[in-house]
């Protein structure tokens, strides 16, 4: 019983990270039907900016967090105004825009390399890394904060999407931006909000996982892949489905690690995703979300 508890807690912790990245990818996809391949780079920027503001500039923690979020928001605006909008104005297909975001990710990594160098760097922890007992389970405040922030951001996203008129605009733009525009919705602003909000989430992920994973300028790619897997499994286009997909992937990973070997986790997860997509091509919760619209 204790073993399954440990596994589920580890799955929930890792799943919160994958889920938040998946949620970020899905938020942008939900507004413009484009997958942002630079999403992991927002996380990387969050991690590396934490080093800049907390270690190099010695800012107080909360000032540093504010500065980190400003950096990722600026990066999101650069991506939206410098890559997305120009390509959209020239009538580029979604696939072309996706390649544009991939190019932006590579450029961002290159710039980060010039600033922070190639080495893996230690990132200061915002919350304590000391052991914390939860009954028979053991964790630490930083890991609990990841789960807490995941839950909080899910709640915030749900409220925004389903309890505000702006959320209605977001969903309408996601269904059909042209009709949304005809209905008086500023679709371009909704898309910009998607970029900024998803970057904020990714920046917070960076602050939380940096002390656990360390910071390296190339770390964004893996996170994008995990987030993308989460979004595909859960259902692309629904932030909540993507988040659920992330948790599911991590729980399977933890179960395979706990009762077998992590060596086989990825093949098992990809087989699982493939099997699920055979029966539910829009992902586990894709139809549910489509119905809600």
């Amino acid at each position: 019983m204790e073993q399954i508890g440990v596994i589920l807690l580890a799955g929930l912790t890792n799943g919160s990270v994958y889920g938040l990245v998946g949620l970020s990818i899905s938020l942008i996809y939900g507004t413009n039907r484009v997958i942002n391949f630079a999403q992991g780079e927002f996380v990387m920027l969050g991690v590396m900016s934490a080093i800049l503001f907390m270690v190099t500039l010695h800012l107080p923690t909360w000032a540093a967090i504010g500065a980190i979020l400003v950096v990722v928001v600026l990066a999101a605006l650069v991506l939206e105004l410098g890559v997305y909008q120009p390509l959209v104005r020239r009538g580029a297909a979604p696939l072309t825009i996706m390649i544009g975001t991939l190019a932006a990710a590579i450029i961002a990594t290159g710039i980060a390399l010039l600033i922070w160098g190639p080495l893996q760097l230690a990132v200061p922890n915002v919350f304590s890394l000391q052991a914390l007992n939860l009954g028979p389970l053991m964790t630490n405040a930083q890991q609990l904060a990841i789960i807490g922030v995941f839950a909080g951001l899910l709640l915030l996203t749900w409220y925004l999407m389903y309890r505000t008129s702006f959320g209605l605009c977001i969903r309408a733009t996601g269904v059909n931006p042209r009709i949304a525009s005809l209905m008086g919705i500023r679709a371009d602003r909704v898309v910009r909000f998607g970029f900024v909000f998803s970057a904020l989430i990714s920046g917070m992920v960076g602050i939380l996982i940096g002390p656990l994973l360390g910071g390296q300028v190339g770390m964004g790619v893996t996170l994008t892949v995990k987030g993308f897997m989460a979004a595909i499994l859960g259902g692309l286009g629904s932030p909540f489905a993507a988040a659920a997909g992330g948790v599911m992937i991590a729980v399977v990973e933890a179960l395979v690690a706990g009762y077998g070997s992590s060596l086989y986790a990825e093949p098992i997860i990809f087989s699982l995703i493939l099997a699920i997509l055979f029966f539910r091509p829009y992902g586990l919760l894709g139809d549910f979300e489509a119905g809600r619209r």
Binding site: Q3, V6, I7, L9, A10, T13, N14, V17, L113, G117, P118, L119, Q120, L121, A122, L129, Q130, A131, L137, M138, T139, N140, Q143, I146, I209, L212, L213, G214, Q216, G218, T222, L223, K226, E253, A254, A257, G258, S261, S262, L263, A265, E266
Partner: protein, 410 residues
Amino acid sequence: MNKTTNQDPVVVRNPTPSWRAILLCVLASMGSAAWAGTPLRVCYVDDRSGVAADTGIQSFNGFQIAVSEINDAGGINGQKVEVVSYDGKTDPQLTATFASRCAEDDGALAIVGGNPSAPAAAMIPVASEYEIPYLMLSAGTDNLTDMPAPFHFRVGPRNAQDAAAIAELIARQGFKRVALINNSLPFGTDSAHATEAALKTSGVPVVIQQTYDINATDLSPQIGRLRSANPDVIVVFPYAADGARVLRTLQQQGISLPRIVARSALLNTLRELAGDASDGVLVPNTVDMQRPDVKKFFDSYKTRFGEAQPTMYPVLGYDAAKMFLQAIADPAVQKALAADELADARVAIRDALIRNGNYQGLQGHAGATYQFGPDRHHGPPDQNWFVFVQVADKGKHLVAADLATFKPGS
């Protein structure tokens, strides 16, 4: 390509053919006595900005020290050695492309580099195709220098040798229940399997073996299973950041058993990220700081590049450069160079590396030598090579291992 510009005599450049032609014409018309045929150019190709950048940078620094020493002493027969360097970014395809450029465009006499195994392996076909000697560094995958290995050599130890050294230490220290934990990348899995096999030979049972994903933020399931197996020593085969996570999780769960971490703990990154959770960890190394020549080398390193802990990586670059420089001073190589026969010079360098196969470098215990030969292109011998170091001062320093206290129950 990274071009290093510094004020020492090591010249890093990549001249275009037209410039080389002009230079040739000018020198020929001057009838200069300084002209000695093929330039003494060597390529350094390694990861210096990817995940294994620590290793590539340190090895390149060691490499530059060796080249500077020879150039400061007047070069080889009055000719300075030129270095062309490329950053392969842990990308096998990019690394292979750079290796081809070294062989084809740069006219290099040899290629040195290759710390991570995958890009190091990617340069082997290039070396064979262009018949250019290639000295790879710490790439540990066992079969990289299996014969036939026409033009490539390995300077660093292979994973099976690390494994044998770890198994021998565990048996000697009297441990009876070994737990292995490794990441799911080839380095982790290969090393764990090799260690398990070596321990079996030594008669020490492995009570549990766990594998984890390199990006997992929570390793509690694996560490929990380790604990439940009740081992008396834990051996970890990680990369830098995940290794720190393993050590921190062990500390967090109150597991204070003796721990051995593979050579990745020689990198500052792992120890910095782990902090005091890494203190007391034993790490296999090939550098014996009791040797005066090794100490002198690290003093030179500190003067030029800042302080470095005594690890194999700077030494690998230095030893590889020294072996190459010794080879190009060989009369057969000089004859080919004077005749401007690049292909012949490369073959002669390969043969000289084999002839000078018992080179005594800075790796290993005093008196230990490399053991290259016609049928053996892997240099490090199985005996007298490994020196265990211990992590101290919250991960900041590597000190001589205190084996008297590294016992079961300690």
